[in-house]
């Protein structure tokens, strides 16, 4: 291989009239580098989003939710809880009454919204979902000062306190201390039986729930489990048990254990333990799909760059035809010739891949400044020395070479332009239209090193494959015809 390297490296740095080809080599390297850099950045962002969502989601969601098929209420829930808590991996459980109800605030005379009501025991719920961490206001659903005040001033029956999702509260236009009316059920009119009267319950808003999970903040209200049971006339019954585990990743196995451990009669219904993964499957599978698509698209970009390499090599082969003939007369075999050109293409691929990895990681680093974006000057101070280094290195490598200045100028403009773009315009999830759904305001970055290595290998492989045809073409030139080529 020594001989092939000797010739190939000289051709890559060749300093005679083929400046055109040298510019194309630079462009090829740039193409590969851009492909690799963007895929590393894009996947780091997607990983970051996924990880951020998972963290946020797991912070205020149970790992396993145990219910019955049909979501019916069941008795003896204390016994079921004991059975579930007997499982090793279970840390805590929280009995819950889950329901939906129509609400209207006291200042309104029409139904404003239909919301989910989660009847909880705050102490237990804290252990499972960290409930109180996300509440702005009181979490004492039975004895808050708001409740006492309301009971003092008003002549209506106050059933209890409610903690409302922050966005839901904003939508309904209620503040702490306001009364929210629930329509619990409809009752027949005692005299006119064809008429239905709503059975109302009054709750005082005592706090706002702000978890940054849109599902809860937009749609949920939390009341005390006793109040919920009273509301639906289901004393001492619940319809769900929320479970927290030592490790969220164990959810699937533990869910099966719970289903086995908790015994129900046929009449009561089939137990159904759902994991957080199942509950959020659409979201996470969408993210995974997005990642796969990203890789496919970026692979296409690298493929384009590889075609670039192939055409560069084909041109080089054409330009070097005479030299190939000469080398053949000197006794190089087809294999030698093939290697010379494969090395050239592979070096371009390798340089591009390495440059792209460096660029991608640098961009990840730049973007990981959370919301504090580096200033123009900081970015320039970072990039100018790097660029000068590259310039000096290239000047040394390519003495007496004219055309490269143009190529470098273009490269320089691209780098500066992109750096300024990054500096001036923070990429936020709002730009991507994601903040509404995920409520994350900064772009999370998480570099998956395994993937970085994978994309490096993939990029290099694609570039290497691109060298095969031109190299084969060079190797199959007939020595005599090649020598006479003008």
């Amino acid at each position: 291989m020594r001989f092939e390297w000797f010739v190939a490296s000289r051709y890559l740095r060749s300093r005679r009239k083929q400046s055109f080809i040298s510019i194309i080599s630079i462009i090829s390297i740039g193409g590969v580098a851009l492909g690799v850099a963007t895929v590393i950045l894009a996947i780091a962002v997607l990983n970051g989003v996924e990880h951020g969502l998972k963290d946020r989601f797991l912070a205020n969601e149970a790992h396993v939710v145990f219910r019955l098929h049909g979501h019916s209420f069941f008795s003896d829930y204390q016994k079921r809880i004991e059975q579930i808590e007997a499982i090793d991996e279970v840390i805590a459980t929280s009995p819950v009454v889950l329901s939906q109800t129509a609400v209207f605030p006291e200042h309104s005379d029409a139904i404003q919204d239909v919301i989910y009501i989660k009847g909880i025991d705050p102490v237990q719920e804290n252990k499972v979902t960290g409930f109180s961490e996300f509440v702005d206001g009181s979490t004492d659903l039975l004895n808050s000062t708001f409740l006492e005040d309301a009971r003092l001033i008003r002549d209506e029956t106050i059933t209890g306190g409610i903690v409302l999702g922050a966005r839901l509260a904003a939508r309904l236009g209620v503040i702490k201390g306001d009364v929210l009316r629930f329509i619990v059920k409809l009752a027949r009119h005692p005299v006119n039986e064809s008429m239905l009267l709503p059975d109302l319950a009054n709750f005082v808003v005592i706090g706002f729930y702000e978890s940054e999970m849109a599902v809860y903040d937009n749609n949920f209200g939390f009341i005390h489990i006793d109040a919920a049971q009273k509301l639906y006339n289901k004393p001492n019954r619940v319809n769900a048990i929320f479970v927290r585990l030592i490790d969220a990743e164990l959810a699937p196995q533990v869910a099966r254990k719970i289903e086995d451990a908790v015994q129900f009669s046929v009449l009561e219904g089939m137990p159904d333990a759902r994991t957080w993964m199942e509950m959020q499957a659409p979201l996470f599978s969408a993210l995974r799909m997005e990642k796969i698509l990203t890789v496919v698209i970026e692979a296409l970009i690298i493929l384009v760059a590889a075609f670039n390499i192939a055409s560069t090599l084909i041109m080089t082969v054409m330009e070097k035809t005479k030299a190939i003939g000469t080398l053949r007369t000197l006794g190089t075999s087809r294999g030698n010739i093939m290697k010379i050109f494969m090395i050239q293409g592979s070096v371009i691929g390798l340089l591009g891949t390495m440059l792209g990895t460096a660029l991608g990681l640098a961009l990840c680093w730049l973007l990981s400044f959370n919301n504090v974006r580096p200033s123009y000057w900081f970015t320039l101070a970072l990039i100018v020395p790097v660029f000068l280094q590259v310039l000096i290195a290239l000047r040394r490598a390519l003495p007496r070479h004219g055309g490269w200045k143009f190529g470098l100028g273009v490269l320089w403009l691209i780098v500066i332009g992109f750096a300024l773009y990054c500096a001036v315009r923070p990429i936020s999830l709002a730009d991507l239209g994601l903040s509404q759904v995920y409520q994350m305001n900064q772009l999370p970055i998480q570099i998956n090193w395994f993937f970085v290595i994978f994309i490096n290998a993939l990029s290099f492989l694609i570039c290497w494959l691109a060298t095969l045809y031109p190299a084969w073409q060079a190797a199959n030139l007939k020595p005599v015809e090649a020598l006479q080529h003008e």
């Binding site: 006794g331 190089t332 075999s333 030698n336 005599v480």
Partner: protein, 229 residues
């Protein structure tokens, strides 16, 4: 040439045709030729008669349509490409009308190239290349690129290059065809000197009358055949 001399190359019933679409263009039509060890053989003939083609076939750069070229009684074209390349590398040196130096490499590197293909000992090779350049009178030009050399100098580099692996045979195709008179003389002197010193076999395709008077033997190619030899 005396019959006692050892035959190094035997060309047997060599045919070579080129194809232009359907039309067959016969160039060599049954060449029989023996080339002896250490002789200086000139091949002459009108242009287009196939002198260069014959030289290429002897040099294994091309394969014949039919017939064979025997080196030490071995049919060289039965070898696979890799071994043929190795054979060419070790046993044959080429000098062309146009120097065919590689423009990206210095004179020294151009001369060393043939040996670098197979060796791992660069130092020795460069030393030998230096000695060869010194021998052809270019010891001052080692690190010059071909574009920085004159025509005669380039041709002398090309001759030095053909000798790096100490080949048994040097094939020269119009080695002075592109040179002025003075450069030609210098190149030819070099060839005679080499032949007398190293005993290498030289096969020279030429138009140069002066040259044909100074060789051991002249064969003339007429209509794809040898007319005298």
């Amino acid at each position: 040439m005396p019959n006692s001399a050892e035959t190094i190359i035997r060309v047997v019933d060599l045919h070579k045709s080129y194809y232009d679409g359907e039309a067959e263009l016969p160039v060599l039509q049954g060449i029989n030729l023996e080339i002896y060890m250490s002789e200086l053989l000139a091949i002459v003939g009108a242009s287009g008669v196939g002198k260069s083609t014959l030289l290429h076939l002897i040099g294994t750069l091309d394969r014949p349509t039919t017939g064979s070229v025997l080196y030490d009684e071995h049919d060289i074209f039965t070898l696979p490409d890799t071994e043929l390349a190795r054979f060419r590398n070790k046993e044959i040196g080429f000098v062309f009308q146009f120097h065919h130096l590689l423009p990206e490499f210095t004179a020294l590197e151009n001369v060393a190239m043939g040996a670098l293909i197979t060796t791992s000992n660069d130092k020795t090779v460069y030393k030998e290349a230096e000695a060869l350049l010194d021998y052809v009178g270019l010891s001052e030009r080692l690190s010059h690129f071909p574009s920085q050399l004159s025509g005669g100098e380039r041709q002398r580099v090309a001759i030095a290059r053909s000798l790096i692996n100490k080949p048994k045979i040097v094939l020269a195709d119009e080695p002075t065809g592109n040179l002025d008179r003075r450069s030609s003389e210098a190149v030819l002197e070099l060839l005679w000197d080499l032949n007398s010193k190293s005993g290498q076999t030289f096969v020279i395709v030429t138009h140069n009358q002066e040259l044909t008077q100074q060789v051991d033997r002249v064969v003339q190619l007429v209509d794809g055949n040898i007319s005298s030899g």
